[in-house]
């Protein structure tokens, strides 16, 4: 029987890994991710999880050891954040290119400089083209569910790719709330024991992995990776259907609230999506035609599906929780690009990009209300349209700090 209890996002992610019966955990602590691996170490010590815990000296080594464990045919897990993820960067491409179904939560924390402990998405955005799937979660329930969900998705023969499950640092990782924890039996029925379907190291039959690849076939190997990435959208939908049948909770590539007849739609990822939905519910009661779209799967980007929903609105407000220095925010770039065909028919929505919540700044109801107000002004033509992001929660004295 499933149990309902209070836990924070980190505890939920650790519980998800325990229920997924991960066999190897190799991790290095870093705020705000540390409680995940501490909890898993306790589970192993208390024999609540039959796994090997490998202590390593850095995040670079953590992912290397996780790759080794996966290549040896086990279900492998690690977790990281911020500078730790940046240190892994050389190796994230190896995990993906070797097509290893590793699940690695990223507990989002701003990348320096300036130094910060607090949430934004600059760390995971730095990995967005490394060939991992990326899923952004809103609450502790999603954090638990998507660890289990992601192993099933990653291990599908049509995918065989690693997955990042992203949790907003502190706003999710350290926030306690009610979570339904499924029983081991329920999870076992959904997620069978791991069976390697690609590369497996066998001492009796040695082989080289990740070898020097000539221009004669490099493109083709990369193309296989691209096909797997594309496949994962369809496989996500199938896994989602199965998840819904087994657990009664439904997850899409994105979740819409009141978007059908919405004139303005707000696009967001992570914890701020809850605050957006809260405000949209309030404004709907006042008769305002606003809607909310929470993007769950950022990689691969479900652009076609997204355009079908957003193309009908008059204005789309995209909130990025990373600076996107030198361009728009990364989420806004994707959204604008996916709407290009609609926009060309001259009926496309006005897309406004807002940067908010950097380095742990709270994304408040007031901030979101201002975003909606400015988007309405842009739709009405009262605000100059421009190809740039608007830093909506910037202090007035910004230049003198």
């Amino acid at each position: 029987m499933a149990k309902r209890k209070a836990m924070d996002g980190n505890a939920a992610a650790a519980e998800g890994a325990r229920l997924a019966r991960v066999q190897v955990v190799a991790a290095y602590p870093i705020t705000p991710q540390t409680p995940i691996v501490e909890k898993l170490a306790s589970f192993i010590d208390e024999q609540k999880l039959a796994a090997r815990y490998i202590n390593v000296e850095s995040e670079h080594s953590a992912l290397c050891a996780t790759i080794g464990a996966s290549l040896a045919g086990t279900r492998a897990f690690t977790a990281t954040a911020s500078a730790g993820l940046a240190l892994m960067h050389e190796i994230t491409g190896v995990a993906a290119g070797c097509r290893l179904p590793i699940v690695m939560p990223i507990v989002n924390r701003a990348l320096p400089s300036p130094w910060s402990l607090w949430c934004d998405h600059s760390d995971s955005m730095g990995e967005r083209d490394q060939g991992w799937l990326q899923i952004y979660t809103e609450n502790a329930q999603e954090a638990l569910d998507f660890i289990i969900f992601s192993y099933r998705l990653a291990e599908d023969e049509r995918v065989l790719l690693p997955v990042n499950v992203c949790l907003d640092g502190f706003f999710l990782s350290h926030t306690s709330e009610a979570v339904i924890v499924p029983s081991q039996e329920e999870v076992d029925n959904f997620l069978p024991p791991y069976e390697p379907k690609n590369l497996v190291l066998d001492p009796l039959d040695p082989m080289a992995v990740n070898v020097l690849t000539s221009p004669a076939i490099f493109t083709e190997i990369k193309h296989q990776h691209k096909v797997a990435m594309d496949n994962s959208l369809q496989v996500f939908k199938e896994v989602s259907q199965q998840f819904q049948e087994n657990f009664g909770r439904q997850y899409g590539l994105f979740e819409t609230y009141a978007c059908n007849d919405a004139e303005i739609i707000i696009v967001s990822m992570g914890t701020m999506s809850g605050t957006v939905r809260h405000l949209v519910k309030k404004m709907r009661k006042e008769g305002q035609k606003v809607g909310a779209l929470k993007l769950t799967m950022f990689r691969p980007f479900p652009g076609r599906e997204l355009a079908e929903i957003l193309g009908k609105a008059q204005g789309v407000a995209v909130i990025d929780r990373s600076a996107g220095l030198g361009s728009l925010g990364p989420l806004a770039n994707e959204v604008r690009s996916s709407l290009y065909d609609t926009a060309n028919s001259n009926q496309g929505p006005v897309v406004c990009n807002y940067v908010a919540g950097l380095g742990g700044r709270d994304v408040t109801e007031d901030t979101i209300a201002l975003i909606i107000k400015e988007t309405v002004q842009a739709v009405e033509g009262n605000l100059k349209k421009s190809y740039e992001s608007r830093w909506i929660d910037l202090l007035e004295e910004a230049e003198s700090i």
Binding site: R4, A6, L117, F170, T175, S176, E177, T271, G274, H278
Partner: protein, 184 residues
């Protein structure tokens, strides 16, 4: 939905207390959320954390700016420049750790209900020099009426198994029985 702000000084255990309050409400089949605000403060510096309680799922994930109630683990934060009246709703409730009476605190104009007790003194006598969490949870239980005493005692036992838990349950009950409740 009711929203709360906890005030204290680094090391007094307000984050754990907010988590325990949330655990109690969730145990009673309702919804709750503890949103911590971690800074780089050192032990003794003024700190705060937030919580929400509701009969329905809670969408909001931001900090609390207009609390329906505040829980003050150390009234001395006032001397450190903290304005306890900031953002208060008109029907706000206060639970405070202080040897002062509600009238002596000079806060009766701003709250409709106040529960106060000397949680440091009670904790020192029953357990020793530890954070006043358990005593404050008992006082919160009686003053705020958001969860049952039996539920919070069970949460304390889960957070702190064994003899330490039982000592803290005693402290919680003592907080519940000792709190002086003033109502407008």
């Amino acid at each position: 939905m009711k929203e709360f702000k906890f005030y204290g000084r680094g090391g007094q255990g307000i984050v754990t207390a907010s988590k325990m309050m949330v655990a109690a409400v969730v145990k009673e089949e309702r919804y709750a959320q503890a949103v911590p605000s971690f800074g780089q403060e050192r032990k003794g510096a003024p700190v705060f954390t937030f919580a929400r309680v509701s009969n329905n799922p809670i969408d909001l994930k931001s900090f609390v700016y207009k609390p329906n109630g505040i829980i003050v683990f150390d009234l001395f934060v006032r001397e450190l420049g903290i304005n306890l009246k900031e953002g208060l709703k008109s029907d706000a409730v206060l639970v405070a750790n202080t040897p002062l009476s509600p009238e002596e605190m000079e806060l009766t104009e701003d709250f409709i209900k106040i529960g106060c007790l000397d949680a440091f003194d009670i904790t020192e006598n029953l357990i020793g020099t530890v954070p006043p969490n358990a005593v404050m949870l008992g006082a919160m239980c009686r003053t705020m009426e958001l969860f049952e005493l039996a539920t919070i005692c069970n949460v304390i036992r889960e957070f702190m198994p064994g003899k330490r838990g039982e000592l803290n349950v005693e402290a919680c009950k003592c907080g519940y029985n000792s709190v002086q409740v003033w109502e407008r």
